[in-house]
């Protein structure tokens, strides 16, 4: 999958479906009221200046440790959480300029699929009821239309025969089936863009691949673009065209899925990939070499935000912010990263 798409990058040919410029989401960290008189409020920079663009039919994954801001980024993209700053364009429309009613209408085209099916689905509703609910919110009230969309969605997620599933309750379904109901619930609105938060990580290996293949099928058959949030780098590579690596609110490296895993440039991407265990029992257990404590993005260090954990950090990294720039890579996958220690791409001679 990813290897094919690296050869014919369908996502590079058309105008982007989603474009984000300098997106920021800050929270004010709660301090006691007394303290707040004496100290400046502390700002948590969950998303701290992210720019990216996703093309029609592309599957883009963002990976990183818990707390790196990837889930906040995904929610901010669709204004489930309001951004503090920055621009989000969906097919050219600036989402941040939309009123809440207009944004509500826009949600028909942009959907989010949450991580935990056990939490996201109301246990008291049948599959049929769960799938009808989003349509009622969006004024798709014709029973025939509803029925048609429900059938098509359940067929597309391969819950067949459809009649066997319509009257079932969440507790009567397996984890893999529930995950597919969650996707069907997004599909009844016929979206063009889906943000999926950890779509495979709650599942057993034996059914995980089925969900990954499902996402690929939906991309191919319904031309849906995906933004996947995951800590499962194996799944990200198998499924995506491109991967962005996120650290403390910023994308620190971006490139093709194969390129990022085979030939990571940023020391953080390297550490992340080093720590994945290979299944071969003869190979030693991996280790990240950077410790596991992610600093909170409150008092960000001066200089590169990764320098306190970075094995390659120099004096320069402690003083100056690295620049986001193109760097050479083995596969020439348009790699971008922000690291002082990675040599930038040479400009071709005039």
């Amino acid at each position: 999958m990813s290897s094919e798409s690296a050869v014919t990058p369908g996502w590079a040919s058309e105008e982007p479906i989603l474009e984000v410029r300098n997106l920021e989401k800050h929270y004010v960290k709660s301090t006691g009221w007394l303290e707040s008189f004496f100290a400046d409020e502390k700002r948590v920079r969950a998303v701290d200046g992210v720019s990216l663009s996703i093309d029609r039919g592309e599957i883009f994954s963002v990976v990183g440790e818990s707390g790196c801001g990837k889930t906040t980024l995904g929610k901010t993209l669709l204004r489930v959480i309001e951004p503090t700053e920055g621009e989000i364009r969906f097919k050219g429309t600036d989402l941040s300029s939309l009123s809440s009613t207009e944004m509500q209408e826009m949600r028909e085209h942009v959907q989010i699929v949450y991580q935990d099916p056990f939490e996201a689905l109301n246990p008291k509703r049948t599959v049929n009821g769960l799938l009808r609910q989003p349509m009622e919110i969006h004024d798709i009230t014709s029973r025939d239309e509803q029925r048609e969309r429900i059938y098509r969605a359940l067929e597309d997620v391969n819950l067949l025969p459809v009649e066997d599933y319509l009257d079932r309750y969440p507790e009567e379904l397996s984890g893999g089936q529930l995950q597919r109901v969650l996707f069907a619930r997004a599909l009844v609105l016929d979206p063009e863009f889906i943000v999926a938060d950890e779509p495979s990580s709650m599942l057993d290996a034996s059914v995980r691949a089925r969900v990954l293949d499902l996402i690929d099928e939906l991309r191919n058959e319904r031309d849906i673009s995906f933004f996947i949030i995951t800590h499962d780098i194996g799944a990200a590579r198998y499924l995506s065209d491109r991967i962005g690596v996120m650290y403390l609110g910023r994308i620190v490296e971006m490139g093709s899925a194969d390129g990022i895993v085979e030939d990571p440039k940023h020391p953080y991407s390297k550490a992340l990939i080093e720590s994945i265990p290979s299944p071969d029992p003869r190979e030693p257990l991996g280790s990240s070499g950077i410790g596991s404590e992610v600093p909170e993005p409150v008092d960000l260090p001066i200089g590169c935000r990764f320098h306190p954990r970075c094995p390659a950090a120099t004096e320069h990294c402690r003083r100056a912010d690295p620049e986001w720039r193109s760097v050479p890579s083995e596969t020439d996958d348009g790699r971008m990263t922000e690291c002082h220690e990675v040599e930038p791409k040479q400009q071709p001679p005039e």
Binding site: G64, E65, S66, V207, R208, G234, E262, S275, L285
Partner: protein, 337 residues
Amino acid sequence: MSKQTHDRARTTEETLLSVRNLSTHYREGEDDVPVRAVDGVDLEIARGETYGLVGESGCGKSTLGLSLIRALPPQGEIIDGEIHLDGREIGQPARSAVKDVQWADISMIYQGAQNAFNPVKTVGEQIREPLRIHDVVPEGERAGHVEELLDKVNLQPDITDQYPHELSGGMKQRAAIAMAIACEPELLIADEPTTALDVIVQAEVLNMLQRLQEELNFGMLVISHNLAAIMKLSDRVGVMYGGELVETAPSEVLYDSPRHPYTARLLRSLIDPRRPPEQVETIEGTPPDLRDPPTGCRFADRCDLATEQCTAEAPSLEAMSERHEAACFHHDEVSEL
């Protein structure tokens, strides 16, 4: 201790844990049909050995762990079998005696241990708890002992005064490990020790368990659906399906030449990100209903090799080679799957 030295250790040292024909059932009410969560399992673990137990959700692997430490929920009951630890029968004591075994002889890192701490007690109080119950360290020395334990799991001594919510997921997992080794148990059970942790913390926890075992030489039972991590950590691996152990072998042997079709399919559902397969496999179908498991092989309806014999009679574990057993009539054909 490396895996090689484990191998030597096993041939010279005695069996630590021996489980014979263990069956644990769940029953909601008196008249309900019981769920046969664990159904006649045999298992042996040597001192200093790591045994990994894998299988899909609902296959009985966690129930097996909870049976060993006698921490089953009220609906669960060991209905048959013997459990010996270091030659002593520990399967049958009355519930009041359970506390004698827990922590001191067998301890467990429970699934979701990060969330199992009591939110209103400090981390230090909770780690001291097993020391107090078993009185293994005089009261005056407990605080110092807790600091030593924290040091073993790379935590700063100042977290003793913190509350669980002040710690990250990885720190809580390490605190749970400190608590589990507090009384120097002979057997440590770790139920999904890395699930819900991201790769960097996962690698750290796995390395830590391996190092602690080298230092303290406990036997370890690691239960997980993360087959890649389990094969790395374990000397031997057992595969459970539908309440039964269907294959057991040294990790390398299991990885290279599985002899049960279920193991073979599980291995092919793994994604090694560095060597991604063209197509990742799924195992179609669902595990059997353990209220009424099939008479024959429990995997038969999902198996490409199944024949009439498989639906008529149940295969039992057979020796494939030294230390390798599989329960499949068609074990010779598995390599052709």
